[in-house]
């Protein structure tokens, strides 16, 4: 039994179509996708390259316009809204996590996390306060004033996740969030995502890595622009995964104390 009671659907897609090119060169990236995503689901979208999963994610994130079909987010049809309205919805309801983190290098960690709130109209001080709070939950408090290039890949992605979460979106979209990370950092990131899921967030993740689907509550396989299979998996227990402490500093501290204990 999932931790969260299923309520109204967050996302409804009806016969979603995305075409590229014209005439002979016409190419369907998505050819009729029907999908309903409920509140609190953790969906992993799998499939070979070019099957349309990234296109689907871009449309879900309102970064791309569908050529046909209907996209209903939180009960309102958004596919055909003006660009300004869509930008507004992006700032209010959607959090995106990228494979390449996309932190702004001129800004420190805190400012990067606070960035989405700028376009939500939150005042500067309040913004930094909210960003600081969210960083605390990711155990990155002491990294607040670091610049992105001073962080490891895993830390950068955690900052990026914090940024995606800071505006309290109704849905979090992740495009290969662990694609640029080693396996250890990947697991840390996946632990974070699964933690978010347990706290009630809705997550849609695109991935190539079948191992990661074990974290998801529902796995969708795509092929040639259509959904090939859609399976709900029971929530995996934490035992399945290698436990890695999220707070590297705390880990070091505990090691030190044990050493001290031995000396005594």
């Amino acid at each position: 039994m999932p931790k969260h009671q299923i309520s109204s659907p967050v996302i409804e897609l009806h016969d979603l179509i995305k075409r590229y090119g014209i005439g002979d060169a016409e190419n369907h990236a998505l050819s009729g996708v029907d999908l309903t995503i409920e509140q609190g689901e953790f969906i992993a979208i799998m499939g070979p390259s070019g099957c349309g999963k990234t296109t689907l994610l871009n449309i879900l994130g309102l970064l791309d316009q569908p050529s046909g079909g209907e996209y209903i987010l939180d009960g309102t049809s958004v596919g055909s809204l003006s660009r300004t309205r869509q930008a507004h919805i992006r700032s209010q309801q959607i959090g995106i996590i990228f494979q390449s983190f996309n932190l702004i290098h001129r800004m420190n960690v805190l400012e990067n996390v606070a960035l989405p709130l700028t376009y939500k109209g939150v005042s500067h001080t309040k913004r930094l306060k909210m960003a600081s709070e969210i960083l605390k939950t990711f155990h990155l408090s002491e990294r607040e004033y670091y610049m992105p290039w001073q962080l490891s890949g895993g830390q950068m992605q955690r900052v990026a996740i914090a940024r995606a979460l800071v505006n309290q979106p109704s849905i979090i979209l992740a495009d290969e969030p662990t694609g640029n990370l080693d396996s250890k950092s990947s697991h840390i990131i996946m632990e974070e995502l699964s933690d978010l899921h347990k706290r009630g967030n809705t997550i849609v993740m695109v991935t190539h890595n079948p191992d990661l689907t074990t974290y998801a509550s529902r796995v969708i396989h795509m092929l040639d622009g259509q959904i090939a299979s859609d399976t709900k998996t029971p929530i995996v227990t934490e035992k399945k995964h290698e436990k890695v402490s999220l707070d590297s500093k705390r880990a070091k501290v505990s090691k030190k104390t044990t050493k001290k204990g031995r000396r005594k």
Binding site: N58, G61, L63, D64, R83, T84, A87, H88, R90, S91, Q92, I94, I96, F98, S100, N102, I104, R106, M107, L115, P116, T118, Y119, K120, G121, V122, S123, H124, R163, N167
Partner: protein, 407 residues
């Protein structure tokens, strides 16, 4: 929206700081343009206020008649018309004006150029003013020593400016000395008080000129008067308008119904009329226009570079909810900051240069809020005009494409 504006300014300052060198180099173009504008305006306002003081010196009852219909020299016609065209004003006009009611003083001004020589020195191309005794009262001249030309003085007498006296005789005490103008011998009967007004409505620096009678002047001009200007004063300020109206009527009648002259009063007289000055002003205006154009293109260029460099940032900002308008504003504010910084630099530098130039002149540049407003306005216009295209380009970028771009 207001919050976003402050954010845009902060972001812009931040990003400009990280590219400090090229930002400063870009501001230079605008700075030079605005500096030129400031120099032109401050000096021309300075000169205007000097002449203005001369005109207002005596009850503000002065009117000036000049030949030609467009006597206020614009930047487009650097050379005064009267310098090559035959003047349409005649001696008859003077006597007619003298006979008008309310006319208290009337003096014609015939400007000549010629060489002068004393015992050992020869000066070329000095200005000679041929006029009537009333000239001293229309232009408030003060004679330091001796007397001004009057009706009873001999034809071959001259009043000299103090500097001319020094140039000719090596001393300011030259009463009774003899020198020659264009080969004619003249005796010095008076020396003017030093006025230090090379720019004035008479278009001649009296400190370095010789003043002779109109009769003598005509002798140098085949016996006819070539009158460049008639100065006239009303008996009091209230009657000036009536006097001008009646003078105009009279002169039109004299000139067969053709209005080929202009009567100026008050502020109209104060417009800069010096050839040198207008030429400098034209050159400076061209420099200003070119450097503002080049500076603007520089801003556009550097903004386009900035937009290209920050493609990923633009993509990300769009992904986290920045609207196109927000991005246009962000980049527009950045180019505005560059141009306004340039404007400020140019304004300060312009005054520094204007004061340096004025050290060699007899007047100081004027400080008015209008000049500051123009300098400021120009920078805003240039910043907006040349920043708009890069800003629109930034906003039009596709979010997905931008995020995919390798940095």
């Amino acid at each position: 929206m207001r919050l976003l504006l402050i954010d845009h300014i902060k972001t812009a300052v931040h990003s400009l700081k990280t590219t400090r060198t090229r930002t400063l180099l870009t501001t230079l173009g605008i700075a030079i343009g605005v500096a030129s504008v400031t120099i032109i305006l401050s000096l021309s306002h300075g000169i205007t206020s000097v002449i203005d003081r001369q005109v207002r010196a005596n009850d503000n009852n002065l009117a000036v008649v000049r030949p030609g219909t467009d006597s206020t020299t614009s930047f487009a016609s650097p050379i005064m018309q009267q310098s090559f065209a035959t003047s349409t004003l005649s001696e008859n006009d003077i006597t007619d004006i003298e006979n008008l009611s309310h006319a208290s003083r009337v003096a014609p001004l015939m400007l000549l150029n010629g060489s002068m020589s004393a015992d050992t020195t020869t000066l070329k191309n000095r200005s000679i003013v041929a006029t009537t005794p009333d000239f001293s009262s229309t232009s408030n001249l003060e004679v330091r020593e001796g007397q001004f030309i009057d009706a009873v003085t001999n034809m071959n007498t001259a009043v000299v400016g103090p500097q001319l006296s020094v140039d000719l005789f090596g001393t300011e005490e030259s009463i009774g000395k003899i020198f020659s103008i264009r080969g004619e011998r003249f005796t010095v009967i008076g020396i003017l008080k030093r006025a230090n007004q090379p720019f004035n409505y008479n278009n001649v620096d009296l400190d370095t000129s010789a003043i002779i009678s109109l009769e003598s002047g005509k002798k140098f001009h085949n016996g006819t008067a070539q009158i460049q200007q008639i100065n006239l004063r009303a008996d009091n300020q209230k009657n000036l308008e009536k006097l001008v109206a009646s003078a105009e009527k009279k002169l039109v009648k004299n000139h067969d119904g053709e209005k080929d002259f202009t009567i100026l009063t008050g502020e109209q007289i104060t417009r800069p009329t010096s050839n040198v000055f207008t030429t400098i002003a034209i050159v400076m205006t061209i420099i200003a226009a070119i450097s503002l154009l080049v500076g603007g293109i520089g801003i556009m260029n550097i903004m386009l570079v900035g937009v290209a460099e920050r493609t990923r940032e633009i993509g990300l900002r769009k992904a986290v909810g920045a609207s196109n308008a927000a991005l246009i504003n962000q980049f527009l504010i950045e180019s505005l900051i560059i141009s306004m910084l340039g404007g400020l630099l140019g304004y300060v530098a312009g005054y520094a240069i204007a004061f340096t130039i004025s050290a060699f002149l007899t007047f100081s540049p004027a400080f008015t809020w209008q000049i500051a407003a123009i300098a400021f306005g120009i920078s805003i216009v240039v910043g907006t005009l040349f920043g708009l295209y890069p800003a629109i380009r930034a906003a039009r970028k596709d979010a997905i494409e931008s995020l995919r771009q390798y940095r």
